[in-house]
Amino acid sequence: MLKILQNIDRRWVFLFMLLAVAIPILAKTVFPVNISPQTMMVFNAIEDLPDGSRILLSYDFDPASQGELLPMAQAFTRHCSIKGHKQYYMALWPLGSPMVDLSIDTIESEYPNLVYGEDYVKFDYKTGGEAVIRMITQDLRGMYELDSKGVSLDNIPMTKNIKNIQDMDLIINVSAGDPGTKQWVQFAATPFGITTVSGCTGVQAPQMYPYIPDQLAGVLGAIKAAAEYEAAIDEVYPSIASNPKAQEAKRRMGPQLVAHGLMVCLIILGNIIFFVSRKRGLA
């Protein structure tokens, strides 16, 4: 038995992982969500702003991280839309721009009362990473003369009076790496005191915690925090709970639970094999 376990084909592990992820997805299993204080910090940063506040949303991620970050990006969009905040979208990653389009689609389909140019606007991707941030903290038009539709910022109601992003009430950054939250903290949040919150991948989250609470008003780390954020929105705005698209992160917690459980079982099993082998002088 020990020998079989020691030499188990790794394709069995792949199969178990496939089942661990597939079964909860197919069974549509949803588990309860406990909202953590960290998530409430992010929720309150948006919720406590007066309706119609100016919020800059930078989507610094691409399709590779879409599974982990898109649900929280969409939740940010829904929360801002419900509150009637003015949403300014941009991206520091070339493939972040199509991610913004998905949020724009959400606004157009779920909040038809919101008007492009009055309630939300999109700036196209510009190369330069942190240099883009540095520039728009001083001069927005130095980087974006036009919006993504080719309209001059001076002719758009919600941008004509904006000089730079110091006029924003909040920055929301959804980040999968560099340039991302770290650069927003270094070049916008810290030097100019602009309140900033971040939604980032699980790998990045530990690096962001030291910035809380002064340089970042809160961090959502990975899909778990996104699920908690969705639950927080549901609690305050029960009407959104009936929208299945607004429950995407919660739905993804099912596969995460089973997959993490499997990982822990595999680690325990691997260590049992290791200790028994060592005892028998086989390791």
Partner: protein, 231 residues
């Protein structure tokens, strides 16, 4: 000359950005330098593209091992470039209907949109999703409690893995007394992230920052010239 001019450019640009950060009078210099940087960044993208083509063409012409992959790379690169640059399948912008190529480059149904939607999205998502399988098999084969440090890491990983799901709550539901609720895995995960992780990351970040200051000073003063290359 080949080394002196780039050295002077680097030193002057570095000092301008440094001064612009601390002296309000020089703030505009910093903005100008950043505008230059953005223009250069576009140039760097062209240079990067050119370099990619050159390297793979050399590989193909020499028929070196794996040259077939280079053909695929060049084909995809050129194809995407043509679809994106010439905006094939993109309609003119509604505001400027008579201006060619004025439409949105990723307009639904266009060539680049098709490449993005049906090639880039599934391929990059697949690469990320495959991590789950590799991490699982690595955890099974390599994550061993060989010594005290490894055991500590292993226990912490187990707690955080379960704390990141509802299992962290569910495992303790109904039997753990109120005074011991801090032992729940979700609470322990929060503690791990907020206290040891934050402390450790802060220390590393400050260390890195000091290292960056030292390296930057060496570059600004012309002591470190390794970034200029060898010839």
């Amino acid at each position: 000359m080949k080394r002196t001019v780039p050295l002077i450019i680097a030193i002057v640009a570095g000092f301008v950005l440094l001064i612009a950060n601390f002296i309000p009078f020089a703030e505009d210099w910093g903005l100008t330098a950043q505008e230059w940087f953005n223009i250069l960044a576009v140039g760097a993208m062209i240079l990067g593209g050119g370099n990619l083509v050159k390297l793979h063409l050399m590989k193909i012409s020499g028929q070196r091992k794996g040259w077939g992959y280079s053909v695929v790379t060049i084909g995809c690169f050129v194809g995407t470039l043509i679809f994106g640059l010439f905006k094939i399948g993109v309609h003119p912008n509604e505001i400027y209907p008579n201006v060619g190529w004025s439409g949105y480059y990723l307009e639904g149904g266009s060539g680049l949109w098709w490449i993005y939607q049906h090639m880039i999205v599934p391929l990059t998502s697949m690469m990320f999703a495959m991590l789950a399988f590799y991490v699982a098999t690595a955890a099974f084969r390599a994550f061993r409690a060989k010594n005290t440090e490894a055991t500590l890491l292993l226990v912490t990983a187990g707690v955080v893995l379960l704390g990141q799901t509802y299992a962290g709550v569910w495992l303790f539901e109904g039997w753990l007394p109120e005074s011991m609720q801090w032992l729940r895995f979700d609470h322990l995960t929060e503690w791990v992230m907020n206290i040891p992780n934050t402390g450790g990351t802060r220390a590393i970040t400050i260390g890195i920052a000091l290292g960056v200051v030292a390296t930057s000073l060496r570059i600004l003063l012309g002591v470190d010239r390794s970034y200029l290359g060898q010839d």
